[in-house]
């Protein structure tokens, strides 16, 4: 499964409580669309650290890295380089 699919599934299952793929566009902003609240983002970080074996630094906890599936995918790719 691609990183994008894993992240999409995680968000769909844990925040939208659905397996309907159409419920989430990979470009959707989690905050603007009300998908995550501010504690939800902490759960996402735990998930990413677990699943992709990365460490998210405090300075990296910004919407540009984490506020959509696309942003997360790019962020993980950068981290892995």
């Amino acid at each position: 499964m691609s990183s994008e699919a894993k992240i999409r599934n995680y968000i769909l299952e844990n925040y939208l409580f659905t397996d309907d793929e159409s419920a989430l566009d990979s470009a959707d902003s989690f905050l603007d669309k009300g998908i995550l609240d501010s504690t939800g983002i902490l759960e996402v970080i735990y998930f990413l650290e677990d699943e992709f074996e990365i460490k998210v630094e405090d300075t990296e906890m910004v919407p540009e890295n984490l506020d959509s599936v696309n942003n997360i995918v790019s962020f993980i790719e950068r981290k892995r380089q």
Partner: protein, 652 residues
């Protein structure tokens, strides 16, 4: 403290019978296990279940005036009854008991409907004037004691608890989905809504008069604040001296009782204030009770011990485990008779059980101080957000938000730049009186995503924040922002949740009466005139109360930041990733589908997330507790109409 119930015919009809009233009052036996009393008239019946606290021998109700033309049943306490009694005796009234109840009938004779303005107390009253054929229902100012009504079949039924109404076969039982949405937004239904269709709450500070088949509702008291322009130029010392004298008097009045009085001790400022005032200014022997948790995040045992050592009180400590919460939760919901979004009432029910076991019937408790003196994080959060709104591009202004939630393991301010984005939401509502509450309400409303398509269709207009406007006074926008926040908090969370689901109901579950010295209306009215800077000084909450108590409580407690009382939520309902049996049943696809409120698939995914221990944030935990509690209401109240708490075996 007691339970009351009654029926009045609004049209010609069969007189209420003993059988009907017995059924209703037996349903609230736990509120008054010390005896029953009844009164009948051709169109009216009153019933009373008594918990004897004042005038143990002579205080049986109904109580009447000299010629027995005025009859009253009442739940609560009139704390200034000795002063009222003396005044009434001077005017020639003759008393046949030593009970506080009796002042009500004589005050009514003197002042008619204005009598409530003379009462200092916590009460739900049903008073019958047989000469004028008039029934008065009244509820105390802050909403400490409950009173529900329902009009059906040409009659008005009223009672301390909904189960009393539902014990009558004529009363239909159905959840009001709009009211459920209100709970999943504001943490409480908005009066007059109860959770149940057609069942209404008599709102706090209101009087209902029923005369010749007509009902008239009026508000005799409200939280009120000075106009924004007015500032009171007293010195801190002057404010402080006045406040101390008033608090001492409030505690002194609320200790009036013919049985011993205990006190809850949380380890926070408010209960420390009360216990210290009892110790220092009265000769009442101090007996205290506290609750603790295994999880460090929730536990305040260290501060409780500091205070116990400082005051030298005889103390009982109850340790509440997660498994205790899971096991007791159905019983809690049978008493709250509402959906709730936190488990926090559960430990308080266990605590009131410990009070009962210790042989006590009455406890003083600190609720109200946060609303009255400006203690809540939500007030501070709003203060920072308002400050930020003056310079929306500022980088450092929102950074202050990160100082707000140091006690939370998973703080909403721990996520760096996301914090800023989160608290930015709702900024466009800066001019709305409910600006402060939007972050809380928007997080809570996430529960609405679990509703089924049928439930959504049944409520075509989902509840909006602006629904709160119907509770707000016209002048609210002329008040200072903190005062607006206080008003909304007092009229939603305080009366609708803290004093009911987390207050009266879980105390009365064990026949315990809570008393609330911070909610003496004189204290509320005095504090309303305090300049806002003396409520929250910078980000130092309840500044004036802390200042006033200098030298009377340990500095460790006076200087600590507020830690809101909370308890473990979704994790209380799982053992090793498996749900408790009743939870498994109520969340099953079949049972969820049968109730019709929720989408079984989304609920099942939430359940799995909680079972994995991955639900860390408020939103998921509130959703889980909210759905579970409403399913318990459906199972125990709508389906089974059981007075006794839910028993899994009944459902198999």
């Amino acid at each position: 403290m007691c339970g009351i119930a009654g029926i009045i015919n609004l049209k010609d009809g069969i007189p209420p019978s003993r059988n009907e009233l017995e059924g209703m009052i037996h349903a609230v036996h736990h509120r008054g296990p010390d005896g029953y009393g009844f009164y009948y008239h051709d169109k009216l019946g009153l019933a009373h279940a008594r918990l004897s606290i004042i005038d143990l021998i002579g205080g049986d109700q109904p109580i009447h005036n000299e010629d027995q033309s005025v009859q009253v049943v009442f739940n609560g306490e009139i704390f200034n009854y000795l002063e009222l009694r003396a005044q009434l005796q001077k005017k020639g009234h003759r008393f046949y008991t030593h009970s506080d109840t009796e002042v009500i009938v004589h005050l009514y004779e003197e002042h008619e409907e204005e009598f409530v303005n003379h009462l200092n107390g916590q009460f739900a009253i049903a008073l019958w004037d047989s000469k004028k054929q008039k029934l008065l229902l009244a509820r105390d100012r802050a909403g400490i004691r409950p009173l529900f009504t329902i009009e059906t079949g040409g009659r008005l039924y009223f009672a301390s608890e909904v189960k009393s109404l539902f014990s009558h076969p004529a009363i239909p039982r159905e959840i009001n989905l709009t009211a459920l949405q209100e709970v999943f937004t504001f943490w409480t239904t908005l009066p007059p809504h109860s959770l149940f269709e057609s069942v209404e709450i008599l709102p706090p500070g209101h009087l209902m008069v029923i005369n010749k088949g007509e009902k008239r509702l009026s508000r005799y008291w409200d939280w009120s604040f000075p106009n924004e322009q007015i500032d009171n130029h007293k010195s801190v010392t002057e404010w402080s001296e006045e406040l101390r004298a008033l608090m001492v008097d409030s505690v002194r009045l609320q200790l009036r009782s013919d049985v011993p009085v205990g006190a809850y001790l949380s380890g926070g400022l408010d209960s420390s204030v009360l216990t210290s005032l009892i110790k220092n200014f009265t000769d009442t022997p101090l007996r205290t009770f506290s609750i603790g948790f295994e999880e460090e995040e929730f536990d305040e045992s260290g501060f409780q011990k500091d205070l116990v050592d400082y005051l030298g009180t005889k103390h009982t400590h109850v340790l509440c485990k997660r498994s205790d919460i899971g096991a007791a939760f159905p019983k809690v919901i049978s008493h709250t008779e509402s959906a709730i979004v936190r488990t926090a009432p559960t430990p308080l029910m266990l605590l009131s059980g410990a009070v009962r076991e210790a042989g006590y019937k009455v406890v003083l408790t600190g609720e109200g101080a946060d609303e009255v003196f400006g203690g809540y994080d939500i007030f501070k959060e709003a203060k920072v957000r308002r400050f930020w709104s003056h310079a929306p591009d500022s980088h450092w202004r929102p950074m202050i938000l990160q100082r707000l939630y140091p006690y939370l393991k998973h703080s909403p301010t721990a996520s760096g730049a996301f914090t800023k984005r989160f608290f930015q939401q709702g900024m466009e509502h800066i001019d709305k009186p409910y600006f402060a509450h939007i972050p809380r309400w928007s997080t809570t409303q996430r529960i609405l995503q679990f509703f089924s398509d049928e439930a959504r269709a049944a409520v075509p207009h989902p509840v909006e924040y602006a629904a709160i406007n119907r509770l707000l006074p016209d002048e609210i926008n002329s008040w200072k922002p903190l005062n607006r926040d206080q008003y909304i908090e007092a009229n939603t969370l305080l009366s609708g949740y803290l004093l009911s689901s987390q207050g009266d109901r879980v105390a009365m579950a064990n026949s315990i009466e809570g008393r609330f010295p911070f909610l003496d209306h004189r204290v509320i009215e005095f504090a309303a005139t305090l300049p806002c800077r003396y409520k929250i000084m910078g980000l130092n909450e309840k500044y004036m109360l802390k200042h006033t108590m200098q030298g009377l409580i340990p500095e460790s407690i006076r200087n600590r930041s507020k830690q809101p009382y909370r308890a473990p939520d979704s994790q209380s309902f799982f053992v090793d990733g498996k749900p408790l049996e009743y939870v498994d049943y109520l969340f099953s696809e079949e049972r969820i589908r049968k109730s019709g409120y929720y989408n079984p698939k989304t609920v099942s995914m939430l359940m799995k997330k909680c079972a994995r221990g991955k639900a860390l944030g408020f939103a998921d935990n509130m959703a889980f507790v909210g759905i579970l509690s409403s399913m318990l209401v459906d199972e125990m109240i709508i389906e089974k109409n059981a007075i006794e708490p839910y028993n899994r075996h009944q459902s198999s």
